[in-house]
Each structure stands twice: as structure tokens, then as C-alpha cells.
Symmetry: D2
């Protein structure tokens, strides 16, 4: 170890802010931090719509050794500044993973830094393991927002290897946890999604249904190991065969993220909705076993070339979000292009939800590029079938010359 | 009109090869060609798995005025040289349209040119309208393979505007057609897909179910107008609610398109399949209302960076296919990269089909990049959680420096 | 010809605005328009820094038959709204062509439409030939800004084929032109560049020096034919061997196009410059035979990932500009990303100009990402050589696993 | 440090292969390896055209403590398997850096692994510092070719910080080195390039001329620090003002890297050349002060769309090479596309070299896409100016519809 790093590490920590969930890991972490660094520990829990009772954490954190706890309602900020920009990009990682966990970490880390500054804390801490991407998402955000911050990642420091050792540690230190030594998989849940990972879900040949989950809503899996699929579901989804048999139609309106004069998202009857109510409304559709992955396309209002260009940027944008680079200049650069591409995206879609299917059965928009009146207008002056011949002949020119050179 | 074009157009056509389906349009075209150009007409029909009885066309074409007809079974060539390369690319146009029509046109046009050369014909003809992309697909292929060929596109030449006028023309010329003046939409069908377009399907606010199709299999729509969605189904699909209630599991094996020692595609019991049997087997799943659009991902065997690179090329590749540039040097260039990316794609997938859902419930491969033995091997020597700290710190370096400059 | 097009074309034109240069082509066009369409002709000449005396055109246009002429100084608008956005993109077409002509056409066409609206004209006209890209640049702009406008492109309508026929026409109609029947090549010049095309320059095996130009400034060539090189020079450049022997150093300052608190471009002594003075200052360097193509890179202030992303967008952006899509939603989308990428680009560069060379011999910036104080800061806390090991090991992980699977 | 890593590190090394240059660093490394690990050290020096006398290294390596030394002539392999593929890609990192060092490291590392396997060595070692990209290039190659190999990177292990401490160490251990404690910069040279880095070259505001190099060939600089420019020259170049005054013309022929029937590269008189002679021939041009960065474009034979696609892949390809991912599946995937794009690149170019300028003054090719006979052919049948109208109208369609919707 280099001398300068050693010096940095041996400088004592005075106060640390830890991302706290109230579960086994972060409960152990609070005690471990006090024991290892002898520092004051501030706990912080973000409400991003995980739908759990958070108030009890107040007492629990203090019992575990935290000097105080922040429980902040970040639902509106989450939807407005993180989820909507992500939806504008239509970003899906590797064509499958909806980035529900990836998009939440930067917000949690950002708020942690804000609390650290307010509290005069000199370090921050998270409970992500040393194997996955969550540690990267937390720490890149910490560094981007406060380049001199000191970071403690207990899973990379302590010698404990798994759940059993943590429970032993909790027993020994009288940390109040309610955990059993075997747990089939872990979950992550927020307004946007719920994901499952670990245990039998790591075996790609094992059926998720048969092996892991008696509960109808625990069905999908998320893996952080390289080259394996990650998938998530929206909270409250069910197996298709458990969906209600009667297919409802559902109309969603409004322009949650376009730049035109802002009227905001709307419910089926045109009533205005706050940003974070939108995912909840969609979630209610879960009782019909709406699909775990939903279509995000609306192409009535996007110019073809703009859509193609946007689509060509998705893999890179999704990669940035997945890898933890939300607060990077390149994400902002892509976001500028994407936001511009969505300038005119607004309108109403009718969806049909039925046993795992979500079909768009109707779409319309005041700025639709597909309108009967334009069709008529085209017939007369805009489009002439004769034009196609010149178009084809000019586009074929280089193919013909190429063929003539005997290639 | 320039003098040279005039000259070219006034040069008589002696023999012409027309892409013939036996329907109203191409029946009228045969007569119109003879009447307009006074030339010999050769009809050509490709069997690419449309599942219709083609033999009766032999007599019908001759009755309509063709001097002879070619009916060629191109199913194996279609699957081997067109469908499989397309599947290797995982190409989907605008994230929705599976390119089932787009991929068939270049093959039909290629065979047409071959017949023209064999027959000593001096022109080719197709029945695509002057408004859509099919005319481009036919004609770019003609020009790429035979740059000096003369092309006749009747819909851009004659003054007839629609179905009714064609039926009048057929009546007048005693062309044997069985058509009614109103038809809700037209269809295109081959081994890979079936698509519907036209009529009420042009209205994006109208539900496909309610408005257009009493028959269970006529459900989706394809539009060729700008800025509207195009979608297709696989032949034989049904509405989800009409799917069989009992979810079967189905195992597909083999490596239809990887470069490893070729053992070819396999059925559920390991029996070898010919290329064009694969789509049929999949189609049989239709009675369970398998989804109209199927997942094509298999990520156990693709390197992450290779997959991301391949994905970034999909929009451009799909655009080339959709726009008719199959026989272009840039498609070949992309194909070279894509084929290289699929070098190791092989294995077995278990799919569950149920009322419109197709879930992958198990995957395995002899060259999987996700293997338990490697996981163990990693734990000891390949992966050390400590490595993550250096990885994060180096990746954060530029973000920290950027933050330090006060940006 | 379809009926509707015929109708449109036979509708009389009442007043037309023509892009007028005072040269042979556009002089003939004014007369030809009056003769062919019997309409009033408004001439329009844009001053975009071509450095020619434009006042005499006033009399000449009227003598040739125009009812009036607009001569508008568009230099500042040209630099501010067209050249600077282009430079922010660092756009170079096919890695060679600096887009000097391409970027001027949309502005000329835009102003033409504005004049047409002010004058109540029902058509616009340009003098570009039917073979190149300039016709596309003019007409896409016309259509994008006024979709119902009627366009007359004389070179695609009349039967005249070349320079000689135009001179005959001018003689016959007593149009006052000073032109000889042979001309080695044509030129296009504005604030940003000068280009040459045509004649012997079309032969890629002929040396530009030996064959075409006795004048020191006529040296490069621009071709519009497919698959040939296009190149341009900045106005006032010389052959390297004719450059002054004494290499001057030249310091350019300021931030012509960054978004930071605007202080504008500066001269060598810090004096403020108007936008359109910048190219003139650079041009003065021509007497030292500064290179015909200049480096546009400044990398002290751009984040690496931002620069790489920007670079990956250049080919597409340059293609859009070259093909005439300046006023398209996809150019605006790319521009949004590019402008964001240049947010911090500011500083001073010292250039050395000598016989065709332009070397950057010094660069500095107040927001440089490369600073000695950060270097020190890094040594202690930001960068630890030990971090590199973890970085390498994590990045190597997938390569090692891939090798283990025997690929 | 985790237990498993500790175990691995404490396992003794028996035999190690070190990349050896004979300079101060690698001489110290041989002794330090023997002292630290007590292992047998094999030295390996690659001849990749650095133009230095390598035979004396034989004695020197043994005196320094190596048990034997391999001096391998890799010039032909270097040019054939590394340089030519790189040139086919026209790869330039960040538009400036010609990748001369980056492309050599993977070959050296590959040969090192081959020697390790032949010698039964259990580790490899390089002399790159812990701050730059060279360590990554070496180690990613080691891992890709032999995933279980053990790597020693002395600069990341020992406590020595710079040149002075190394000289002290050499003095103490009687290592025969001829080095002075101050050295203005270091160099790296091979068949393809020479680069300079370090010392005053790290200051972007200091002129390279004034500050660092009295010798005509030491002129450029290469930096490995983030966000600074890296640039290299071809070996043997001079300052422009020191170039010979008489501009020679120089004709280069042949198809060094196309796939057509291979006739190989040719000299000016048509004589065949071995691959590695090509760079030397070009280098001889250095006495005319040929430009430090040369044009690599040849566009007579590349289809436009192929070239644009190739260009869009360059940034990513160059990044892969620069970052050390030569032996990665994604580089192979890109290479497949690039090689396909160069299938028809062949011909002759006449270059004019003069005081830092390299101008292409003539080009021709047997498969040129720009030929007079085709031009004539076009005039008659391929190209009709009338076609342009349809082409423009169809391309304008979406712009007009967009404008109509009031966007």
C-alpha cells in the first residue's frame, strides 16, 4: 500500500453518513462502523416508493447505534429528475433490463452527500457488495458531487463473507434483526420496479416459477454477475395465468415529459396527476397481470429520423445508467439530445391489459405526424407516386456504378 | 423529359419477367403489360412458405396471358441466406417491426433477375404501389444485380388509382379474378411472418380487434405510410384470450446460425431439422397464442461488449433491410461484423408459451460464459472484491478532476 | 405526369424570388423565368463575405429584367447561427471537406423564403444544377420553412446543357454578361472558405498545380460527383512554397462558442471581435500559406468521454449538413448534444503558421482539465498507482472467462 | 488484502519472462526481480523496427542477471498482423494520435506469453509505469491469451518513485547503465512511428520547439496523462523548415491490405516490397520533412455509404486499440467489418512532399468508382437530372409534414 493511501486511511473518521435500509446488512454496518472507526454514525433512508412502513426505522436505527436518522420523501424528485429523463430516452439495458435499481442509486447517493455537507460529516458509507454494480453507482456519484469525500465500503473491508456470518455478528453485538440464515433471494423495490436476485435465481437453467417463488408477485430475477440476464418487474405484477380474466381497457393521457406548454400527466378522466402518482396508477394495472416489461414506444409524434437517431443512442445511454455514470458530462450530453427529441411527444394511448399482455389499441395526439387531413393534403400536392422513380434511381446510382466496376 | 430517357422509354420491350402472385393486381398487370408494351410476359412465383396452393397458378397465369410461369421453391434459400443472417443481427425495425416482408423482397427480385438472364428478357416488373417501400426493395435489388436492367412499375405508370378500377379493368379484359370491390386490408405471408395493412388498419385510434377482424388470426397491422407503426405477426398466431389454457413448455435446441462445427438446428428430441422447418416448428406454437413478437435474445454466450456493439448496429442494419438495401456493400459490411459476433451463439432454451406470453424459463450452452465452475474459479483467482476499489477510483478520476475545475 | 402535378405546374406563377449572383447562370435565369413563366422576378443576393463588390449588381439585375433586388448583409447571422454551430461540432465531411458551401446554402434559402413572404411571392428559384447537392440544400430548406412553396429549378427544366448554350442564349436575349465559352473551373467563396470545381479538376490523376491554376490562390478543388474527393481551402491561401519564409506565431483568444459567461472572441491583444471578424483574422494568416485545412481540436477542456461521444456523432452531423438537412429535427437534436459538449470550451491557443503548416505550439484555459495544481492534488489523494491493478483485473475479467471457455 | 490474493502472491515465482529494452528501467527490473522473488529471469527483446543495434543487449542482459535473452525479429508479423489491420481501419485516436505505441504492445505481450509457455515460466513482467495505458495494454493481452498467468508490474510494487532512485539502485547493485539523472523526455520508436513524452513536454503552454529539442527529429510529444494531447511522428521526420527545399513527387503503388488477388505492395517502379519495407520507404521521405501525420484516405474505390459507416466505427476502434483491447472479441468484430470495407481498396497515389506538407496530387485505381467511361454511361442511362426532383420531394416529405403540424 502506498504511503499516501495509508496516511489517508489512518486519518480518523469523525462522522459518517450511511445509506440505511433497516435490514440485516445495514444494521450490522452501523455497529461495525462505530466499532471499527469509532465515529458518529448518521443513518439515512430514502422514500422512493418502496411501499414499506419507514417510520419504525427511526427507533431501530438509534437502537442499533446511529446518532440520528434522516427519512426523506424523495418520490417526486425521483420521478421528475431521474425516472422521466430515463423514460424520455426509452432506455433499456441490453434490450431487457428496465434499470429500476440503477436509476435509484444516484439519487440516494446525491442526498447522502447533501446530508454529509449539512452535518459536516467527513465520510459516506453504503451497503453494496464488492461484486456488483451498485457499489460503482454509489461511489461514482459520491466522487462526482464531492471529489474529496472519503468512502467506506464495508463489504470490501471486513472479512465477513455472507448472510450467516452477519447474523452471527448481529447476535454477538445484540443488534435487533429479524432474519433467518437462509433466504432464497433478495429484492429491491421502488416506484418504478421490483427486482429479485441471488440464490437459485443465479441458475439460468432453473425455471423461476418452479424453483423459487410460491408468491405470485415474486417471479422475476435480477443478476449482477457478468454475462447473465437481468430482468425486473414492475411492483405488483403477477404471473400471467393469475391475471384477472376480464381484459380492461385503460386510457392514459397527458405529456409527462414533453417540453410543450406543460399541462402535466393526466388520469383516464383527464384529472391532473403528480409525477410520482403515474407509476402507482400503472401499477394498479398489475391485478390484470400486465406485462412485466411494458412497451414504451409512441411513434405518432416523433419524426422518423429523430427516432432512429434516438434509438442509436439508447445502448450507450442505458450503459451509462447501468454502469453508474448518471452524474457524468457524457450522460448530460446525451440527455440534451434526447430531451430535444421528445419535444413533441404528447398524446393519449389506449392500452389493453390481459394476462401478461399490454397491447396499444389506440393512439392519438394533437401533434400527430399521421393525420387524415395531411393524408389528403399529401395526395394532392405533397406526394406524387412519380417522385418515387427519381428517388429510387438516385439511390440506386452508386449500386449500379459499383456493379459496373465488377465488384 | 430528357431526350435520353425518352429514347430509353420508347425502345420497345421484347420480353419481361413479372413477379406474380395470382391476385388481382398482378393478374391485371400481365394483361396490361401485353397491351401497353406488346411484349412477351414471363410470370414468376416464389414459394417462400406462404402456405398457399401454388400449382393452380400455372394454369391461371397462362390464361391471363403469360407465355410461361416459373414456380420456384425458395424456402431453403430464404431461410439460409436471408432469414438466418437477419436473425443473427437480431434486427427489428424501430424496435417493433420484424422485417418479414422486407427480407423476402430481395430474394424474389434476385430470382427474377436470374430468370430474366436465363430467358434473355430485357425488363422486369413488380406489382408494388408507388407509395410504399416495396417498390424500393424490388428496384434497388434489380439495379444492384443488373445495373442496366429496364424496370416497369405499373402502379407508377398507369392511371388506375385503386381496387375498383382494377376490377373494372379485369372485367373489361375478361381476366379471371375472384375479388370483391371492398376488402378490409391486404396481407403478406411467408415462412417468417404474416402482416396486414390498409383499410381501417390505417387509423391508429381504431382498435384492431373491434374494427377489422372477426377471424382470430387477423389481428395485427402493418402500415407503409410515414410515421405510423408497422407490426407483423408470425403466421398462425391468435389473440391471447383464444390461446390454449394449458401452458406447454417447449425446448428448442441447436445452433441455426453459429459458426462453430456445424450440427444444425435441432428439434425438442434432438432430431436434426432443415433450415426452413425451424420457422414452421415455431409456428406450431401458435395454437397457444405465442406472442406475436418473440424474444430473440440469448445472452449466455455473447461477450458483453460484443453484444453492446452488436446492439448499437441494429438500428442501422434494420434500416438498411427495411429500406431495401439488402444487396448493398454497407449491409455486407455490417453482416461481416454481425456474423463474427455470433460465432459462439449456440445452446438450448426452454420457452414457456401461454396466452400471448413467451417466457424463457431455462437456458444452457456448452460455451456459456456463465458457469458454476468458472464462478468457483473466479472466487479464488480471477475476482477479488478489493479490485473493485481501484476500478472505481480510476473510473472516477476524470469526474473528480472535472468537479475540481468548478464545472 | 399525374394529374395533380400537372395542375400545379400549369398554375401560373405571379412573382418569384431568385437567388442571384450576377454571374452568367443567374443572369440567364432571370430572363428565362420572365420568358417562360411571364412572372415578376425579384433578385436576392446575400453578402456572406464573398469579398466581391456587390453594389454594381443592383443595376445589373434590373437591366437583366428583375423588378427589384435585395442585397442583404448576412455576415453576422452566417457566422453566429451557422458557422459557429458547425465549428462546435468540429464537423468535417468524410474527414476532408470543410463544408464551406454546404453551410451557406441553408442561410441563403432561408432569407429567400423570408423575402418571398414579405413580397407575397408564390415561388422561389435557384441556379444550382441538377447533378449536385446544392439543389438539395436549397430545396430542402425551402420545403422545411414553407412546405407549400413552389420551386423552380431551371437547370432541371430547360434544355440547355452547358456554358456555351447559356452564352448563346445571353447573346440572343442581349443579357449583359462578361463570360468566355471556356472556363477551367468554377469557384464558390464566402467568409469561411473558397472552393473550386469542374473542368480538369474532375480528373483525379491530374495534379491540381500543373494542370489548372497559374494563380497562387487557385489550388484546390471541390467535386460534386459521387465518390470523388471534395476539398476546399480557406480564402486567401497560397501554395506552401509561396508562403512567407518567416514563421510568425499567432495567438488567438476567447471563446467564440462556449456557453460560459459570454465575453466573446478576442484578438491577439485581447480586443473584442465581432463574430464575422474571426474568419477574416484567420484568413490574414494566409500570406504565410497557412494550411488549407486547419486543426480544429482543443482538448484541454473537454472531458475524454464527452469528446469521444462528440466525435462519434461527427460523421452523421457532417453528412446532414452536406446533404442539406440543416433545418431538420435530427440536426437540431444532434446540435443540442454538441452544444452541451462545448459548454466549457474556452481558452487561448498559440499557433505557428509556416508554409502550409499550422502547429499548435501552446494552449491554456481557465477551465483546463490538465493543471499542475491538480497534478499535485492527484498524486496525494486522487490517483494511486495501486488502483491500476484493480482496474486492469476487473476489465480483464471477461477476457479471461472468455479464454477459459476455449473460444 | 483478501486471503486468496495473499496466498497467490506468497506463492513463489520460479521463472519469469520480462519485456526488456536494455534501458535503465528494465535493467533495474531484472536485478530487482531476482532480489525480490529469487526467481530465474528470462529477458525478451522484440525487433519491431526501432532501428537500434540489438545484438549488444545479449551480453548486457546476462551481465544484469538474466539467465538468457530472446531477441526476436517480429517486423514482418508486426506490419502484417497489427499495422495493416490498423491502417485498414484508418484508426486515429481522438483524431490526432496515430497509435504507434498502442499497436506494438499487444505483439510484444503476445510473444512474451509464447516464450513463457515454451520456457515453462510461471510469470511475466513489464516495465510500464503505474500511471499510463501501457500497463493496461500489456496486461490485458497477457490475461486474454493466458488467463491464469501471474503478472509482476514492478512500478506498482516497489517504492522507487523516479529516475534518480533507479540510478541510485543501479549504482548500489552495480548494474551497468549509462544514464544521467536528468533526461528531458523519453521516446518510443518502431517501424510505424516515434513518440516523445515526459518532462517539459507535459506543459501544454510550452512550445515543443523552443523548450525541448535541438535535434531535428525530436519534435513531437506524447502524453499519457488524462485529457492531454498525445501525438507522434513517423521516425525520421524533421521540422518543416529543415525540410529539403525541392519538392519531390513520389509514387506509391500496390494494395498492401486489400483482399483482391494479392499482388502485394509495390515500390515506385513496380518492384514488389515485403510488408515491413513499406514503412521504411515512407520514412525515407522524411528528409523532405514529410508531415508528421499523413493522410490515409483513398476514396476513389470506397463506396460512399461504406466509407461513412467505416468512419462512424473509427472512434470506437481507435479507443479499443488505445486502451489495450487488441485481443478482444469486440476488436475482432469491428475488424471483420473494416476488412470487408477495404475489399476493393487498391491503386496508385502520387504524393507531393514539401516542408511538412503531403499532398495527394494524383490517384487512380483499376476499380475506381470514378471513371470517365462510367461518366459517359451515366449521362445516357444511369443519371437523369429529372430524377433529382423526385429524390428531393420524397426526402422533403417528412420535413413538410413536420412543418405543417406547426412544430
Amino acid at each position: 500500500m502506498s504511503r499516501c493511501r495509508e496516511l489517508a486511511l489512518t486519518q480518523p473518521i469523525k462522522k459518517i453518513v450511511v445509506a440505511y435500509s433497516g435490514g440485516l446488512d445495514t444494521s450490522v454496518i452501523i455497529t461495525w462502523l462505530r466499532e471499527t472507526y469509532g465515529c458518529e454514525v448518521i443513518a439515512f433512508t430514502a422514500d422512493i416508493g418502496q411501499g414499506e412502513e419507514l417510520e419504525p426505522l427511526r427507533e431501530k436505527a438509534v437502537k442499533t447505534g446511529a446518532s440520528r436518522i434522516y427519512i426523506d420523501d424523495l418520490r417526486e424528485e425521483f420521478v421528475r429528475d431521474f425516472v422521466f429523463p430515463l423514460l424520455r430516452a426509452n432506455a433499456v439495458y441490453e434490450g431487457r433490463y428496465l434499470l429500476g435499481t440503477s436509476i435509484a442509486r444516484p439519487l440516494i447517493a446525491k442526498r447522502q452527500i447533501e446530508i454529509a455537507e449539512k452535518e459536516g460529516a467527513d465520510a459516506v458509507c453504503h451497503g453494496a457488495t464488492g461484486k456488483g454494480n451498485d457499489q460503482v453507482r454509489f461511489e461514482l456519484t459520491y466522487f462526482a458531487l464531492k471529489p474529496g469525500i472519503r468512502i467506506v465500503a464495508p463489504w470490501r473491508e471486513w472479512s465477513m463473507k455472507g448472510r450467516e456470518e452477519l447474523i452471527d455478528y448481529a447476535d454477538k453485538h445484540r443488534i435487533p434483526v429479524t432474519a433467518t440464515k437462509s433466504k432464497p433471494f433478495s429484492t429491491d423495490r421502488n416506484l418504478l420496479h421490483i427486482s429479485y436476485e441471488g440464490g437459485v435465481l443465479e441458475d439460468p437453467w432453473a425455471s423461476p416459477r418452479r424453483t423459487c417463488t410460491p408468491s405470485p408477485s415474486r417471479s422475476s430475477r435480477r443478476r449482477t454477475r457478468p454475462n447473465t440476464s437481468r430482468s425486473t418487474t414492475r411492483p405488483g405484477t403477477r404471473w400471467p395465468s393469475m391475471g384477472s380474466g376480464s381484459p380492461p381497457r385503460r386510457s392514459l393521457r397527458g405529456e409527462p415529459h414533453c417540453r410543450r406548454p406543460w399541462r402535466g400527466p393526466r388520469g383516464p378522466r383527464g384529472e391532473p396527476l403528480r409525477g410520482h402518482e403515474v407509476p402507482r396508477r400503472v401499477r394498479d394495472a398489475g391485478r390484470h397481470a400486465a406485462p412485466r416489461r411494458s412497451p414504451r414506444r409512441r411513434i405518432l409524434t416523433m419524426d422518423r429520423e429523430v427516432m432512429h437517431l434516438r434509438d442509436s443512442l439508447i445502448p450507450q445511454y442505458a450503459e451509462l445508467v447501468y454502469y453508474g455514470y448518471w452524474f457524468s458530462p457524457e450522460r448530460l450530453m446525451l440527455q440534451a439530445a434526447i430531451d430535444e427529441s421528445q419535444r413533441n411527444v404528447t398524446g393519449t394511448a389506449r392500452l389493453k391489459l390481459y394476462k401478461g399482455n399490454c397491447d396499444t389499441v389506440g393512439r392519438r395526439s394533437p401533434v400527430s405526424l399521421y393525420r387524415p387531413d395531411l393524408a389528403t393534403f399529401e395526395a394532392d400536392t405533397v406526394y406524387d407516386q412519380k417522385d418515387a422513380e427519381g428517388f429510387i434511381r438516385l439511390n440506386a446510382l452508386r449500386l449500379r456504378v459499383g456493379a459496373k466496376t465488377g465488384r
